[in-house]
């Protein structure tokens, strides 16, 4: 399968000089679901912000399909990489759900009936059509998470990047989210501390620690390696 997204030797330091990414290289194939695990402060969210050029590495390369990330391609790459932020309150900033879902495609120049159709389609894909007229602040945690996902789906991305999508969800909300993600055809990079979630959704897993990828393999094998997990402050709640 062709690579949907890859990084090569990505380096980044915070303005105070502390290294956040120290040579990250990985690749995700089209349609593949890949889990990204790692302790707090490993650089996972920082990596996510590099994938669509919100942050630019000091060194290294991000490639999305046939495009290399640079000033010229950053607009198209932001359409292709659908980044779902950890906190839906950061992601949902418009007064109503339908305006929020419309924000991305409207920036791409869609208008009128076409825009309306895209908004309905994206909300239908996450089972949230009935939330159209609602105000983001009045949604439940699970509804917010699904709407946040819809805002990104409306841009028809080729890769979804989800930052801790299950944090703060109740078991039913988490189950609904898994159901939605399983139906989506595009490649998915899932940053999570929820190891059973990674196990259920992704065939392949990366572990990141100290700004590096330290493990890359089949999810079942990595989650079965107790010593490896412990070394990187991870733990399966039950045996795989």
């Amino acid at each position: 399968m062709s690579s949907a997204l890859s990084t090569t030797d990505l380096h980044y330091s915070y303005p105070d000089g502390q290294a956040a990414l120290s040579g990250v290289s990985f690749s995700i194939s089209s349609g593949e679901r890949l889990a990204l695990l790692g302790p707090n402060g490993a650089g996972k969210t920082t990596l996510a912000l590099h994938l669509n050029g919100i942050k630019r590495g000091d060194r290294g390369l991000v490639q999305v399909g046939d495009l290399k990330l640079d000033d010229r391609t950053v607009g198209e790459i932001r359409r292709r990489i659908g980044l779902v932020f950890q906190n839906p309150d950061d992601q949902l900033f418009m007064p109503t759900v339908s305006q929020d879902v419309a924000f991305g495609p409207a920036n791409l120049g869609m208008t009128g009936g076409h825009l309306d159709g895209v908004v309905r389609g994206a909300l239908a894909a996450v089972g949230a059509e009935e939330l159209r007229r609602r105000v983001p602040h009045h949604l439940s945690g699970g509804e917010r998470r699904r709407v946040a996902l819809a805002t990104v789906l409306a841009m028809e991305p080729s890769v979804l990047v989800l930052d801790e999508p299950t944090s703060g969800l109740d078991p039913a909300g988490r189950r609904e989210l898994i159901g939605v993600l399983e139906t989506l055809p595009m490649a998915q990079l899932v940053i999570t501390h929820d190891l059973p979630f990674a196990h259920e959704l992704c065939e392949r897993t990366l572990i990141m620690d100290g700004g590096r990828i330290v493990a890359d393999g089949k999810t079942a094998e990595i989650l079965g390696d107790e010593a490896l997990l412990k070394m990187h402050r991870l733990e399966m709640p039950y045996r795989v």
Partner: protein, 254 residues
């Protein structure tokens, strides 16, 4: 979170007034309030016309009178101030039940009371029949600069988020025994205000990142471009036209 679903200022109904496009209602209220404010205070009959028109509109919009009255309490501070005017006005030239009053003060009281209540009722009606995001949209369609409407809509979106954050901080302080009674205990309040400011600033950065991620290039996209029909404009402008005619008549006949 946990904010409930109480739209404290919106009355969920399906009246004709509710369905008018927001920009027509916003302009109508602005013009109506302007007309009432310009009406000479001596034309008492004109204010009766305005009041009757508003009462009729309340019925049309199926907004309960009790709701309007309870919302009108917001102007109570002005009313209290106005009630003092007859006693503190220049030249006590009339007397009522043995109390000397200033006729100039009585007129000022009437002027403030009538105009404050009419203006407040008009905006209560607007808010009761138009949801807040639509009011912002209405201002946008009236060619208010996008920067202003964007600031307003972000403020509406995040006011509850930030006040929720403040409430949680206060709970956390109370949970650890903070019970301020004296000015010397104000320090934690000041530092929590600072913390809230920094947190809001950081949230602003994350929201901006989320906007960039969805293709934001510096201008808010036009999402809803439907404009009001001539009939809708005509219906919405009946009220300000009536008010304008009344105000002009009041001027001329004075």
């Amino acid at each position: 979170m946990g904010a409930g679903h109480a739209h404290a200022i919106y009355v969920h109904e399906h009246s004709f007034v509710h369905h008018l496009p927001p920009e027509t209602k916003v302009l109508s209220v602005l013009l109506f309030v302007t007309a009432t404010a310009l009406t000479p205070r001596e034309a008492i009959w004109a204010f009766a016309v305005y009041g009757a028109a508003e009462a009729l509109l309340v019925v049309f919009a199926r907004v309960p009178f009790r709701f309007v009255l309870s919302r009108l309490l917001a102007v109570a501070p002005f009313v209290v101030f106005a009630l003092f005017l007859p006693f503190i006005g220049e030249g006590k030239d009339v007397s009522l039940a043995g109390i000397a009053l200033s006729s100039e003060g009585v007129w000022s009281m009437w002027n403030i009371l009538a105009k404050a209540i009419l203006g407040a009722t008009a905006s209560i009606l607007l808010a009761a029949t138009t949801e807040v995001p639509d009011i912002v949209k209405g201002f946008g369609r009236l060619r208010v600069p996008p920067v202003i409407t964007a600031i307003a809509s972000f403020m509406i979106r995040y006011l509850e988020v930030i006040s929720g954050e403040l409430a949680r901080m206060r709970t956390a302080m109370t949970a650890r025994g903070y019970d301020p009674r004296w000015l010397s205990q104000a320090r934690p309040i000041a530092s929590s205000a600072g913390t809230l400011f920094v947190r809001s600033y950081e949230r602003g950065e994350r929201v901006y990142d989320a906007m960039l991620s969805r293709g934001y290039t510096g201008a808010m996209p036009a999402i809803d471009s439907r404009s009001a029909s001539a009939r809708e404009w005509a219906a919405a402008l009946i009220l300000p036209l009536l008010a304008g005619a009344t105000a002009i008549t009041a001027f001329v006949t004075l």
